[in-house]
């Protein structure tokens, strides 16, 4: 090993040089499209900039952040977002696991199911959110129609108006839209499981449910964890789905919608940038916690 390192030091230098050569185009593009806008947003968050006078804004330190932390509407948005994230990601995980198990089993029509499961993912969110909004209408919507005619409910539910139901409706649509993604990630993990564990369990005559909880689930943990991270990061940023279905309504307002309202509707560029930056920091915090808990990226050291 040592001898090779000695002999290859020129080679190592050459490789290091080409590493940076290869990285440069990507870094230049990222610095251009992400660096500038991100820095700009963060620096705006320390000013009182308003869209009508962007040029003569003045530095006000952490005032925007202090205001933000005192705004009950912001905390409500934080609460909504976390509630939405926890509930929808939990349901998506369980459902995704079920679908992944089903897709992994051998049965007739597996191809059909695999195809069907991917459909929601392929429809543009702007369109599918509107579509659901239409289906959720209390008077002429098809969902109430079906539930009424099957006797599940006795009078029309106001899906999009009632504070509790409207959150439930949003979560139902998000679950519909993103469970496929979750199922695929978990399925990928399932397909990598070593088969011999199962064979042993089968021979021992262990009940399948016990096998699932004692063997499959622990082995699947890393795959599920990664899927949960990707989904959680996405869910914390949730914007278009809720915005199209519910607009700026407070019952379902997420952190992104709050930031958009300040930035765009109220033209409060400084304050809105502060909200966006804080949202970014919350997401980063979640990522760090997850990565730490999941031990992901640790093999980098090796």
């Amino acid at each position: 090993m040592a001898a090779r390192a000695n002999a290859g030091s020129a080679l190592t230098r050459q490789r290091l040089k080409s590493a940076w050569l290869f990285l440069t185009p990507m870094l230049v593009v990222l610095a251009l499209v992400a660096g500038w806008p991100l820095l700009r947003t963060i620096s705006f968050s320390f000013t009182d900039a308003h869209l009508s006078n962007l040029d003569d804004s003045s530095f006000i330190g952490f005032e925007n952040y202090v205001f933000l932390l005192q705004d009950p509407d912001w905390w409500r948005a934080v609460q909504n977002t976390i509630f939405f994230t926890v509930v929808s990601v939990s349901i998506e995980t369980v459902l995704g696991l079920l679908i992944a198990l089903a897709l992994n089993a051998h049965f007739k029509g597996r191809g059909l199911l695999r195809a069907a499961v991917l459909i929601p993912w392929a429809i543009p969110t702007v369109v599918s959110a509107q579509m659901w909004r239409w289906m959720f209408n209390d008077v002429y919507g098809v969902i109430n129609e079906i539930m009424l005619s099957t006797g599940l409910i006795t009078e029309p539910w106001a899906w999009l108006a009632d504070p509790q139901l409207s959150m439930a409706a949003v979560i139902a649509v998000d679950v519909w839209k993103t469970t496929p993604f979750m199922a695929l990630l978990i399925l990928a993990g399932l397909q990598m499981l070593p088969q011999d564990c199962y064979e042993n369990a089968k021979i021992d005559g262990v009940h399948p449910v016990v096998v699932f909880f004692k063997v499959t689930l622990p082995l699947l943990k890393p795959a599920i964890l990664v899927a949960v991270i990707f989904r959680t990061l996405d869910a914390l940023r949730i914007f278009d789905l809720i915005y199209v279905m519910q607009g700026n309504k407070q019952d379902t307002m997420s952190m992104s919608i709050y930031a958009r309202q300040q930035l765009v509707d109220f033209q409060d560029v400084g304050y809105g940038s502060a909200a966006a930056t804080l949202l970014f920091m919350i997401i980063a915090l979640f990522t760090v916690i997850y990565l730490y808990l999941g031990g992901i990226g640790r093999e980098e050291k090796a």
Partner: protein, 279 residues
């Protein structure tokens, strides 16, 4: 007897569950198709199928705006985004995945961090950038701005793929005197087919469906992409939403995407395996 009965019941429950899931995922799309075939006030009636299919809604979509051109626009943007981000990411992934250097980990997480910023927060900065580059109302503005969400993703997934490739191949190439660029393009690239297809497809879908940047950076309907075109469909007057036409347009743009997903479904699964679990 009781055991086989239980087994049968279990199987029944399994298929029942599958059926429910199937309805849950497919029904909205079915409903979109049904709605797209309804005429006039019929869209306000929850009838389970169109009584007299109004194919005219599909014709109107192409009459009221240059929809064919807009589909081509979307295609051009999505394909360019895929090609550009794959080209940049393959090179970067080789460096990040196979060459140890200081700060590699930090760099990887910085790249991930870029994709955590809410889209709305970078919008105005991006808008200034686009105008400064003189690309306003030009499809290239979309190709460039979409890099902010496709590039981190492709770099991450391809890096993990690169790491998986056998060391021996590279060592043999080095012995033959191949430069790193040759190693990437001649040795590794041919092996990465499935990975490229997967990440490319995911980037394609992301670019195809994007709305906010596309709305903000283009102005004339000749330069618009499909989601924006659908978002801007409106009726005779300011408040009316011609719902059947919107659904018709949505069905038109979703079908090719579904076909694309169907063709590549196996690859998506195998590609994500490597990308996700070792993330």
């Amino acid at each position: 007897m009781s055991r086989s009965l239980r087994q049968n019941l279990g199987r029944l429950a399994f298929y029942l569950l599958l059926a429910v899931l199937l309805v849950y995922t497919i029904f909205p799309f079915y409903w979109a198709i049904v709605t797209s075939l309804k005429a006039g006030s019929e869209v306000f009636q929850p009838t389970p199928f169109p009584l007299r299919p109004a194919w005219n809604n599909y014709v109107v979509v192409f009459q009221e705006q240059p929809f064919g051109r807009q589909i081509l626009n979307s295609l051009f943007v999505a394909v360019s985004v895929v090609l550009l981000s794959l080209a940049l990411a393959v090179l970067a992934a080789f460096a990040l995945g196979r060459i140890p250097f200081k700060g590699r980990r930090l760099l990887l997480f910085t790249i991930l961090g870029v994709s955590m910023f809410p889209q709305i927060a970078v919008l105005s900065g991006m808008f200034e950038l686009i105008r400064w580059m003189g690309l306003y109302n030009n499809l290239l503005s979309l190709v460039i701005s979409y890099m902010i969400f496709t590039l981190p993703f492709t770099v991450w997934v391809l890096t993990t793929f690169m790491r998986e490739l056998p060391k021996e191949l590279e060592e043999a190439a080095i012995v033959d005197g191949a430069s790193p660029f040759v190693i990437v393009t001649q040795v590794f690239l041919p092996l990465m087919g499935p990975a490229l297809v997967t990440t490319g497809l995911l980037a394609f879908i992301a670019a195809w469906n994007e709305f906010l940047f596309a709305l903000t950076f283009t102005l004339s309907s000749e330069q618009r992409t499909v989601p924006v075109a659908i978002g801007l469909i409106s009726g005779a007057s300011a408040f009316e939403l011609p719902w059947a036409n919107i659904m018709a347009a949505s069905v038109i743009v979703t079908v090719p995407l579904i076909l694309l997903v169907l063709v590549f479904q196996r690859r998506i699964v195998s590609g994500l395996t490597a990308g996700a679990v070792k993330g």
